[in-house]
């Protein structure tokens, strides 16, 4: 390892971290403005043009807020929990390819920090670590609401992790690799995996929503029931760290979804100008984030027992069926290439069957 390699890694890591930090700050602004539009309000528009300086004002406010630690809190874990929540949300972004490699002087620079051959599994492992921060925060606060929020999040994230993993398997099967760059390259010429496997993309999207505790799966912090859930007792910068982790996770899961199913950095002329890759990624992430916020603005929260039932009884069997359909379809495509289009047909049938079954069970039990 020569020093230029170290320099390259450090620069890439710093760029990524600062991009995520800036992304977090402006995602809060984007979300508040969008929510306001959905609700026929204006949203933050005082600080700077279009309210663009609002995140900075918020950050200054949070820094100067008093930090309270509950007297009976479990001090060490209480202090560690926000850090343990934030760190996975940053390092999970390390394996995502942001663009094709480009030539700088006489060296090839890849646009991802770590191009490892088990990239998808790495995503899975970091996603499974992410639950610790939330659970420990809820437990160490020594507060019933926080504890309930932590328990709920643990149950929810463990349950939806299985579906998440199966949705990853779909992308691995289609890309024939666990390396994220290979998966992106397999989607060349407009063959985005969302076209081949639309149901798989939808399942991954739902599972990631549950995994980052976003609406309509934000049971761990349901305000009406749990005040604020696992971060009830946190204030000041510790609260800001939880907030930061949540929004960075939103960005990162959108990036993962874009990479696995929406062609990643691919787009017109990306081969001629490799630096267009991050631009395409940015556009795809912004569109996916828009959909996330749209869902938050329009959908009610799912009741907790139904959330678990949905995860275990609907999403998991459907994901298994989709994996099976994809695997069989890929084998059939070896005989005749057009057979690959049997995958979307059959998985859409499976998806329609699943929604029909949900509809029937809701009608039969006459849920209020």
């Amino acid at each position: 390892m020569d020093w230029t390699l170290w320099l390259e890694l450090v620069i890439k890591a710093l760029v990524l971290i600062f991009a995520l930090l800036g992304g977090f700050a402006y995602l809060t602004w984007y979300e508040r403005r969008l929510l306001a539009r959905f609700q026929s309000r204006l949203g933050p528009n005082r600080a700077g043009p279009f309210g663009l300086l609002q995140p900075i004002a918020d950050a200054v406010k949070l820094i100067f807020k008093e930090e309270l630690t509950p007297a009976k809190a479990y001090k060490l874990v209480f202090f560690l929990a926000p850090i343990m929540t934030l760190v996975p949300s940053v390092i999970i972004a390390a394996v995502i390819p942001w663009g094709p490699p480009f030539q700088l002087g006489d060296r090839i620079v890849t646009q991802s920090i770590a191009d490892i051959n088990v990239g998808v599994l790495f995503l899975m492992s970091i996603a499974s670590i992410a639950v610790y921060g939330i659970v420990l925060a809820g437990w160490s606060s020594n507060n019933k609401y926080a504890m309930l929020g932590g328990l709920r999040s643990a149950a929810q994230m463990i349950s939806y992790e299985l579906t998440l993993g199966l949705a990853f398997v779909v992308a691995i099967l289609l890309g024939n690799s666990m390396n994220l760059t290979d998966i992106v390259e397999a989607q060349r010429d407009g063959r985005w995996f969302v076209l081949v496997q639309p149901v798989g993309a939808l399942i991954l999207w739902i599972a990631t929503l549950a995994e980052v505790n976003r609406h309509p799966f934000d049971m761990p912090e349901a305000e009406q029931e749990l005040t604020a859930g696992y971060h009830t007792e946190y204030s000041g910068m510790k609260f800001a760290l939880f907030f930061m982790a949540e929004y960075q996770k939103m960005i990162v899961v959108s990036a993962i979804l874009a990479t696995l199913f929406f062609g990643g950095y691919l787009g017109p002329w990306v081969d001629r100008w490799p630096l267009l890759g991050p631009v395409y990624m940015f556009l795809k992430i912004v569109i996916l984030l828009f959909i996330m916020i749209w869902v938050r603005a329009t959908w009610p929260r799912i009741r907790y027992d139904r959330l678990m039932a949905f995860g275990w009884k609907v999403l998991l069997p459907l994901a298994l069926a989709v994996v099976m359909i994809t695997a069989v379809g890929i084998l059939l495509a070896e005989i005749n290439p057009w057979m690959i289009w049997l995958i979307p047909i059959f998985s859409l049938i499976a998806g329609a069957f699943a929604s029909l079954m949900i509809d029937r069970s809701l009608r039969r039990k006459a849920y209020a």
Binding site: Y74, V77, I116, N117, V118, L121, F122, M124, S125, A127, S128, I129, V131, Y132, V135, L136, G138, W139, M147, G150, L151, A154, A155, I158, E161, M178
Partner: protein, 166 residues
């Protein structure tokens, strides 16, 4: 590389000792996570990236989280007050020493013990090799299937015990 290995090994062993000596259940669980992480790092150092990541997914992401989950559901006072050792401690110490000695002797007779691992060729796909080995009748298909049947049986049993429809 050797220094790195020594540091990791010390971290693993020290946190493993902390797991059994600390009196606080949550601390014990957290030290266990540190120890398991150390093992994942060892796998990564041995060019076994797949095993390293699976170690994190299975042990840290699933098993240790279940420990934490169980601890959260138990009583609030989580300090044991009894003596951590009973009178038979010397028997277990003797047994573990004997096991260690036996393993060390067996390994020192093995000729791979003193060799450094060869580097993989750059196009070597360890994951594909592993996958093929697991479904190859000449290699590991039988243990693999037996393990999966065992897991399914455990799953069905757990569902049967938990369901209240008799």
């Amino acid at each position: 590389m050797t220094i790195l290995f020594l540091i990791i090994a010390i971290v693993i062993l020290a946190s493993a000792v902390m797991v059994v000596t600390t009196r606080n259940l949550v601390h014990a669980a957290l030290w266990l996570i540190v120890s398991l992480f150390g093992v994942a790092v060892l796998f990564a150092m041995l060019n076994a990236g797949f095993l390293a990541v699976v170690q994190v997914v299975v042990y840290i992401g699933a098993i240790a989280i279940l420990f934490i989950f169980a601890v959260m559901l138990t009583r609030r006072e989580m300090r044991g007050h009894g003596k951590p050792l009973n009178n038979n401690w010397w028997i277990s110490a003797l047994l573990s020493l004997l096991t260690f000695g036996g393993l060390a002797m067996l390994l020192s007779n093995w000729d791979g013990f003193s060799q450094t691992p060869a580097d993989f060729p750059s196009d070597f796909d360890g994951v594909a090799e592993l996958g093929n080995a697991l479904i190859d009748p000449n290699q590991f298909v039988l243990p693999f299937e037996v393990a999966s049947i065992l897991l399914v049986a455990a799953l069905v049993g757990a569902v049967y015990i938990a369901s209240n429809r008799k």
